[in-house]
């Protein structure tokens, strides 16, 4: 009896949970309402079967419970009943499958007027490429990939020169226009998912996969990676912004093309040295850093990292939070670098500085730090040497007080919270693994032991 009651309660409970659950599809922002319709149809068919079978189960448990002296009905087979049930099941299956296949045919077949945009995934970030005025993408190859050409575009290919490359910003799509997303991965499997678009597809190194959709609602949505891609998988986040004209075209026109990034990549160290005079007042002539002035060591840092951080200060992505006291000091300093060329020059000069040594100020449990650092090392390198492709700066040899402060800034969301700061957001998510206060000291103490 108890069994019948419990199963009845579970059936009713499941139905109630289904109907009152606040956890349901996000409001759809693409043309794929047909997918939602197929799912709703499947819910109706399977819901009815679920209730019928289990209610019959309850009925049997109650009605045919053991009675002393009774005998069960002896009936090995009932062909008519079995054939009938098979037929009904087949009809139910066809009712769900047929609409599903029609929608899939639609998904496989990209409309002719779709514009093409490329999405590139790597551990653990997103970047995007638009074909430019000629509407043709330049060819790519892994062998061309460097920190200055992260897409691996063939520099000899004329089609690639006008390709618009978007490395530090979100993906922009035009409302009401079908778009075919060409999906590419540089290292491991990834998956492009926007819950509000409903469709998703894996990104596979060595090949180009695709999906298509038509954005129907303007707004900003999260892009998530949904294929396990290593330790930083859960922190691989992106933004897609759906816009209308003319905002979309204006934004696209402002972006740099591949040819422009190549041209701008010639930095002048001598000009950079002159510009560094401003920096030297706090960071020191040798770039050795100064704890009293809260200025970290710069010597030994790569130019790509210095560039990206200076630009973040300039664009309000770093040092903008009111609790970020020391970061705020950098904002006016970064503003003295008038243009992109100045930033490149000073970054190149910093990268040319000789290594300096720092004094340790933080002690911690090195063993625990080593364990925790396994996760950090995935991006920053086992020796904390820094890895350009993961946008992870060198840690080894950095002032430990600076590392500890930045970790706590990330953890407290006063750095890396800006919606366009993709790498900062990643650190914000990853720093949460340092759950206890002592964990920061432990991991920094371990970093002190690393030799790049």
């Amino acid at each position: 009896m108890a069994l019948a009651v419990v199963i009845t309660l579970l059936i009713i409970g499941s139905l109630i949970f289904h109907f009152v659950s606040p956890w349901w599809f996000t409001p759809i922002a693409s043309n794929w309402t047909s997918i939602d319709d197929t799912i709703n149809l499947t819910f109706i068919v399977t819901g009815i079967v679920f209730v019928l079978i289990n209610s019959f189960l309850v009925y049997c448990v109650v009605k045919f419970r053991y009675k002393e002296g009774e005998r069960a009905h002896y009936e090995p087979e009932n062909k008519k009943l079995e054939v009938g049930l098979t037929a009904i099941t087949s009809i139910g299956v066809i009712a769900m499958l047929a609409p599903g296949l029609f929608v899939w045919a639609n998904f496989v077949d990209v409309p002719d007027d779709a514009i093409e945009v490329e999405v590139v995934g790597q551990q653990w970030r997103w970047s995007y490429r638009y074909p430019g005025d000629d509407e043709v993408f330049g060819s790519t190859d892994v062998s061309h990939m460097t920190d200055e050409n992260p897409f691996g575009i063939n520099p000899e290919d004329p089609n690639g020169q006008d390709d618009v490359v978007v490395y530090d910003d979100g993906l922009r799509l035009l409302k009401g226009r079908p778009v075919k997303l060409l999906l590419r991965a540089k290292d491991v499997l990834h998956n492009f998912t926007v819950a509000q678009f409903r469709v998703k597809m894996d990104m596979v190194p060595g090949m180009v996969t695709y999906l298509w959709l038509e954005p129907t609602v303007t707004g900003e949505y999260d892009i998530l990676c949904e294929e396990l891609c290593g330790i930083g998988h859960y922190a691989m986040r992106g933004r897609v912004i759906v816009e209308e004209e003319p905002a979309y075209s204006n934004w696209l026109a402002e972006q740099t093309t591949f040819a422009q990034t190549v041209r701008e990549n010639t930095a002048d160290i001598n000009t950079g040295r002159a510009l560094y005079a401003v920096c030297a007042s706090c960071h020191g002539q040798e770039g050795e850093g100064n704890e009293a002035l809260n200025a970290p060591r710069l010597a030994g840092m790569s130019s790509w990292y210095m560039e990206s951080q200076i630009n973040k200060y300039k664009n309000g992505m770093r040092g903008a939070h009111e609790e970020d006291v020391y970061g705020r000091q950098m904002v006016p300093m970064a503003a003295t670098l008038a243009n992109e060329a100045a930033v490149k020059n000073v970054a190149a000069y910093i990268a040319s500085m000789a290594d300096t040594t720092v004094t340790e100020t933080i002690a911690g449990n090195i063993e625990n730090g080593r364990r925790l650092y396994t996760t950090c090392g995935a991006c920053h390198g086992k020796q904390g040497q820094g890895i350009w492709s993961t946008d992870a700066p060198r840690l080894a040899g950095q002032n430990d007080w600076y590392l500890a402060r930045q970790l706590s800034n990330f953890k407290n969301e006063i750095r890396g919270y800006h919606s366009s700061d993709a790498t900062g957001k990643q650190m914000l998510l990853l720093s949460k693994m340092l759950k206890q206060e002592s964990a920061i000291n432990d991991v920094v103490a371990y970093i002190n032991t690393l030799q790049p």
Binding site: W23, F64, G100, C225, L429
Partner: protein, 593 residues
Amino acid sequence: MAFVALADRDNDAHLHDPETFITKYVWSQDHKVIAIQYGVVSIFVGLIALALSVMMRLQLAFPESFSFITPNDYYQFVTMHGMIMVVYLLTALFLGGFGNYLIPLMCGARDMVFPYLNMLSFWTYFLSVIILLASFFVPGGPTGAGWTLYPPQTILPGTPGNELGILLMLLSLAVFIVAFTMGGLNYVTTILQARCRGMTLMRMPLSIWGIFTATVLGLLAFPALLVSAIMMLFDLLLGTSFFMPAILSMGEMPDYQGGTPILFQHLFWFFGHPEVYIVALPAFGIVSDILSVHARKNIFGYRMMVWAIVGIGALSFVVWAHHMYVSGMNPYFGFFFATTTLIIAIPTAIKVYNWVLTLWKGNIRLKVPMLFSIGFIFTFTHGGLTGLFLGNVTVDLPLSDTYFVIGHFHMVMGVSPVLVLFAAIYHWYPKMTGKMYNVPMAKAHFWLTFVSAYSLYLPMHYLGILGVPRRYFAYGGAEFIPASAQSLNVGITMASIVLATVQLLFIINLIWALKNGKPSGDNPWEATTLEWQTPETPPKHGNWGPELPEVYRWAYDYSVPGAKLDYIPQNEPHHGQGSVESDSDDAVDETKV
């Protein structure tokens, strides 16, 4: 020399007498001892995997509290939990455990036809478990690539245990497959060759049909996993590029080019989907028998049930790519695999109908095994129906890689087979030990397990519909996931802690009853199948005393009109007391005719 059927060659009973403690309990060649060895080891590793899952749930519910769980650890837990549960617990316990125990007893044989090979099978399995667990203690720890071990990430930096961890995992799988092959050949040969007189194929209990078909599937599917493990080992150790295209990993270009990661996925799922049925088919068979015994009624539509098992087994080889709808394979495959996948729903549905129709007009005794079996019908119906979502390629698009998938496969391939395992252990424990466990405690175990498992996995489906992705260490920063989803995660974790804790009742009960259980008698459930008709309980080595049994009827003569008792054992000759052989006499029997 003229061929003599094994069943007639009964002069080797003396071979089945072990001499020393070692040959009796350690290097044993007795299928029953080997079964228990398999059972104990697989339940032990299963408990480790259970503990790992609780750690994962703690992290998901309280992402900022448990300082000993880092992303590195989390992905290792995810991987080891999945692999242990699927391969080292479920496969090993259903086939190595119940396959070993039931095949000779239910078929009326003295033992497996290759007892020495059977012993080797267990010890090889034991070795694979040792290698697997060793990976927890090597530098870098076990692999964290997910139980699917998808390359390229599996062997690249950025994934936990990408050097020694993955090496040990692949070695352990290879060794496991060797163990499975030795056992599997034995099971198939024994079923085909060593059945006693009168045990035609269409008189075999469905447990044997399920185990038989699952073993055939395993023998055909595991080689796909073996070759993919070997190919990946070559990629890892010798620098081949089977699964490795030219890539940029951590700013460097490893010396790979030309391979394809999707090839691995095809090989993996060509094994992986039949693997689902390697676990499910024995469960289907066993639950059919338990339902029939305790409903005091023959299984409804026996022949349909046999053909459903065989049909599902055959179809299971042509549905694998439904795990890969969004993998980037040619999307036109979606049409084919969605169709085959939904076709497989039909024989599966027939099985569910026939279980329920077995209860219909029965005389149901709600003994402990019966509670678990009815619980199985409920959870399996749920898990089977959500499979219709994921199998339908279009519906899979938004749900793939979300918690809907986690909810689905845990309901259908976690909770449901495990409920059958509990049912089976409670059903055959009296035969294995001669003792009856503590029934109130076993019932408490059922109620708490059943209710907490359902409340654990039902809500996960709704997180998936919302779009919450699986294999995430933490969800901060995704705006579409509301705070309430986190509260739901806390609830799910509570259910998982209850579920994990109450398993203590099970373990304690089994150990307690070994010594303190009341004697159960030879046939406590009044069942018809041969294992309940042994001269001793627990059966001695050799099972049958001087004379092998002879079978006269199918396995389901319950409540036969006109019979004295409400069951007639399979080895009871006809005395004209109205035993109805139904249509099962006209079955084909290739080996004995």
